[in-house]
């Protein structure tokens, strides 16, 4: 009895025929339609081999092992990703599924696919470029794969430390909303998952990240961008792993001004998120003079403002405690003694 079913190919055969089909697709000669068909068929077979299907049992471990091995040996992963825009709609999804499955593969403590991608970082850069306007149809699938990669520190590191990373500041604001939103999820994942990696990145790239780029997001015309980036800012600053970055951020008067302006924004949600960043400035027991000066200059206004701020949130005990604390702190603010 044939090992892989009557008409089924072996992993090696599948990979080989897929590779041929992709190459044909890439070449773009007359047989494009047939090539597309072949690509789709093979992708389905590989996907079913990895995930099982309603018609078949989930595959044996060694089958998966063989398949994964073939996939890196043949550089098919890179090929698939570079040609994602040429593959049909369903095929693109299958590529992502195959990629995400093979990524998980582990032998002992080693993650062979992760190691493979480390040697071929262009895979990551090609995926990141999936958010570019040129090919909107590959954005979402690229995003899925990028986020899976981001779960592995080695790959997150490559993404974070690349020049391409700063393009995310543009990607999160593209015109098609769901692409922008997907880009933001990836962006957030890269900045929050691996604590030490993120903290170090933010520390080392502080000026570029915050002053040059993040500031722009907070000031964006796009409501969703403002709201999401403000919330992320709050999460970043309040994560203890980012303590150094936080203390630096809250000692800069420009940041305080921005937060104070966002407190009086039209959107209630943005006001509320701004509150959670603003409170850190006030709670700082070691406020530098410029910060203190701004607070003192607006002492009365702030107290009045805060007293009537979101008074309808009566059920939120924590918020009301924090608000009361801030009001008290501001009331009792005194200028630093003269040196």
């Amino acid at each position: 009895m044939p090992l892989f079913g009557k008409s089924q190919k072996t992993p090696a055969e599948l990979v080989k025929s897929l590779k041929e089909a992709i190459n044909a697709l890439e070449a773009g000669d007359r047989k494009v339609e047939k090539a597309q068909e072949d690509v789709s068929k093979n992708l389905v077979s590989i996907k079913n081999m990895l995930y099982g299907s309603s018609d078949a049992e989930p595959p044996a471990d060694y089958v998966v092992a063989q398949l994964s091995q073939e996939l890196y040996n043949s550089n098919l992963l890179l090929l698939l990703i570079q040609n994602l825009h040429r593959i049909d709609f369903e095929g693109k999804k299958h590529v992502a599924l195959i990629f995400n499955n093979v990524l998980r593969r582990q032998i002992g403590t080693r993650s062979p696919t992760v190691e493979y991608i480390c040697t071929k970082p262009e895979i990551l850069f090609t995926l990141m470029a999936g958010y570019e306007d040129a090919h909107p149809e590959i954005a979402l699938n690229s995003g899925t794969m990028l986020r899976e990669c981001a779960r592995y520190e080695a790959l997150a590191k490559i993404q974070l430390h690349s020049d391409e990373f700063f393009k995310f500041f543009r990607y999160v604001e593209v015109s098609t909303f769901d692409i922008a939103s997907d880009a933001f999820s990836t962006f957030k994942e890269l900045l929050t998952r691996h604590k030490l990696l993120c903290a170090e990145f933010l520390d080392v790239n502080y000026d570029k990240f915050f002053s040059q780029h993040y500031q722009r997001l907070l000031n964006s015309e796009n409501y969703v961008t403002r709201r999401q980036s403000l919330k992320l800012l709050g999460e970043l600053l309040l994560d203890r792993h980012n303590f150094t970055v936080m203390t630096r951020y809250i000692s800069e008067p420009e940041n305080l001004k921005l937060m104070m302006n966002m407190l009086k924004e039209r959107s209630r949600n943005i006001q509320f998120e701004a509150f959670h960043v603003f409170k850190v400035f006030v709670a700082n027991p070691n406020k530098p003079k410029p910060i203190l000066d701004i607070l003192l200059r607006n002492q009365t206004k702030l107290v009045d403002f805060l007293t009537s701020f979101h008074t309808d949130r009566s059920e939120d005990e924590q918020f009301n405690d924090e608000k009361a604390y801030l009001i008290k702190q501001i009331r009792e603010l005194k200028p630093l003694p003269e040196a």
Partner: protein
């Protein structure tokens, strides 16, 4: 149709005002092609709700099937998000149940619609997703076909490159009457894509009887009933006796229900239809047929004899009378939201 500017759209009619969204009929300025625009005031949503909304859109984008509602475009303007869909002229089946088919859709039309719905479900299940909210309100109709919509309850079996055999999430739907017993059960066994098939069965009863099963029943009673294996059924001459109470009398007072009762006690729904519903509503999920297999059930033989437009034509006149005239005064949507902008406060920097 890919413009991100509100000014490029002409809003012609309000279709629905919901808690979290409003639905409008519109067309692009310049052509008369009708579309549907769903407006979400994002300010009204907390972070969790927003996250769910964005996930629904992502999910919808993954499906490409003639019987699944398609997102044409999606953009934000100020605090609102606008999602564009094709215009399905007859709207949701639930609306039709309330207006035209108050005693239920004709069986042949149900067969035609369900063929489309099952086709959509087959595709969704093949993609390792569960729809999670199949009901008449989420089936849209036009002259040619039915489409399945509303993916806010959909879930995938594939997480991070691994396929899990069952799901355990609890449904967030406000109305759980269509939910399968194994979903409500929340036990160790979890549920599979067969929960959609059960919902198809409930929807069949809803569309045949004119009203959803368990309507105005306490959720806890509905839950208890389902867990114990009680199932709703199609009401016709063969089954109407269960409407009678212990003494064999009709337990209603008003003339409306009396008339409905009379209609039900006279009509005959095919055996195939009854069997179809029984298969869908089987207490044990494993015994329910898959969407693919159900499409081959004898119930659908009748689809050969008519088309959706045939049935709609018959009711055309009623529908025309019921549809609202385009509201000319709608014009462009005023997108200025009145929010608490604290213009009065000027910080002293």
């Amino acid at each position: 149709m890919c413009s991100n500017s509100l000014a490029d759209y002409q809003f012609t009619k309000v279709l629905k005002h919901g808690r979290f969204s409003s639905v409008y009929k519109a067309n692009c300025v310049g052509n008369n092609h009708s579309i549907v625009i769903k407006k979400f005031p994002l300010e009204h949503g907390n972070d969790a709700e927003l996250k769910k909304l964005f996930a629904e859109i992502q999910c919808c984008r993954q499906f490409k099937h003639p019987n699944i509602n398609k997102i044409l475009h999606c953009f934000t303007a100020e605090c609102d998000m606008f999602v564009l869909y094709p215009y399905m002229c007859f709207g949701a089946c639930q609306i039709l149940l309330e207006s035209i088919f108050t005693n239920g859709f004709p069986e042949a039309l149900i067969a035609l619609l369900f063929k489309d719905v099952l086709s959509a479900l087959m595709y969704i299940h093949m993609n390792d997703f569960v729809h999670g909210a199949v009901k008449a309100g989420h089936i849209l109709l036009d002259n040619q076909k039915a489409v399945l919509t509303n993916f806010h309850e959909s879930r995938s079996f594939i997480k991070h490159g691994v396929k899990i055999p069952v799901l355990h999430g609890v449904s967030q739907e406000k109305n759980l009457n269509w939910a399968a017993p194994e979903v409500l059960d929340q036990n160790i066994n979890g549920y599979t894509e067969k929960c959609d098939i059960y919902s198809v069965g409930i929807t069949a009863c809803e569309m045949a009887n004119g009203i959803q099963p368990y309507f105005e029943t306490q959720p806890t009673l509905m839950y208890t009933e389902k867990i114990r294996g009680n199932v709703p059924s199609l009401l016709d001459r063969s089954t109407y006796t269960m409407l009678l109470d212990d003494q064999g009398k009709m337990p209603f007072e008003n003339s409306m229900t009396r008339r409905t009762y009379e209609i039900f006690s006279q009509r005959i729904l095919s055996d195939d239809f009854h069997q179809f519903v029984e298969i869908c509503l089987n207490r044990n999920a494993e015994n329910r047929w898959s969407a693919k297999k159900l499409m081959t059930h004898a119930f659908f033989k009748q689809c050969r004899h008519s088309t959706i437009s045939d049935h709609i034509k018959k009711c055309r006149s009623e529908l025309d009378n019921n549809s609202i005239i385009d509201d000319e005064s709608m014009g462009q949507l005023d997108d200025r939201d009145v929010n608490e902008c604290r213009e009065d406060v000027q910080w002293n920097f």
